[in-house]
Symmetry: C2
Subunit: 154 residues, 2 copies
DNA sequence: TTTCATGTAACTTTAAATAGTGCATGAAAC
DNA sequence: GTTTCATGCACTATTTAAAGTTACATGAAA
């Protein structure tokens, strides 16, 4: 399958939204993400249902952050987009009658579960406010360089 | 893409080979795995290059284990099949000029690297001998049940 | 020399994410 | 009120990598 980049993408979008006072349309966000507006609406739909963002129709409409960034963790965002599978590998069959396969699956699953638990625990410790702070630190560092650039894409 | 089940599959095949004294053909192994002989030859090719299995052509040929099971870890097998990516998720772009994306990617990558390291460390602690022992324990448990079955697939 | 089995290079199929189209809905501007 | 702008959503198309398949060369044993 294709590599899943939804979490990466939606975090990116959220931080861009946080830099704006006014609502951003899915078209603006799609441009910044070099993707399609419908993809933006689709992934942000989950965040809206979870109460993290708000969407408005019509003139002046678009997307806004609905909660303080410090109150949203990467784990929250992961949950809101539907908890896509984290591991690229899986077992050959789900219901193995073969005892060899059962032994193999048990060993693999133990490892996968541990790795997933660690990953989700880490994500639960990082708030969007921290990501935004990291971004601003990078901004400050870059502004010292000879050719400062905008923080938003073209 | 499809879910990667190569590690699961090749471990399964190795344990079946270990139960046999004589070489097993890729056709026999494919039957047990409900897959295609060429798929078996493809994945076992990496293990052959790594010295874990041996293959022989012609009459009476086939595949045999070339090292004691206690000397092969799940990590070794993972390496031998080419270290396929473990995480289903990744970053949107590899070379982000956007500072927001840099901040997001840095946070995600930290988590992914930690989870991968944990997983590989766990895999490095489990030898095929232990998997085989687990299989035999399951065999013994089943043989107590009213309808004992063969350990090998039809 | 025939038969069996691997080795490998194509090509096809499949699963899942992403991309895109079309239209309904609803809000603001005129 | 009607035009314009924006989301909501159903549906289809594209893309990516694994898995499945075909075809044939190679090499060993019968």
């Amino acid at each position: 399958m294709k590599r899943d980049s939804r979490l990466s993408g939606v975090l990116h979008v959220l931080l861009h939204m946080a830099e704006q006072d006014t609502p951003m349309t899915s078209e603006q966000l799609a441009k910044a993400m070099q993707t399609h507006p419908v993809v933006i609406r689709r992934t942000l739909g989950g965040l809206r249902d979870a109460g993290f963002v708000h969407s408005e129709k019509g003139h002046g409409g678009g997307w806004t952050i609905a909660k303080p960034l410090a109150g949203i963790t990467m784990r929250d965002v992961y949950d809101a987009i539907g908890r896509p599978s984290l591991m690229a590998m899986g077992n050959r069959t789900d219901a193995p009658g073969c005892l060899v396969e059962q032994a193999v699956n048990a060993a693999l699953d133990t490892g996968f579960r541990e790795a997933e638990a660690l990953l989700l625990a880490r994500f639960g410790q990082v708030t969007l406010a921290e990501l935004a702070a990291d971004f601003h630190a990078r901004m400050a560092a870059r502004s010292l360089s000879p050719t400062p650039q905008e923080h938003i894409h073209d």
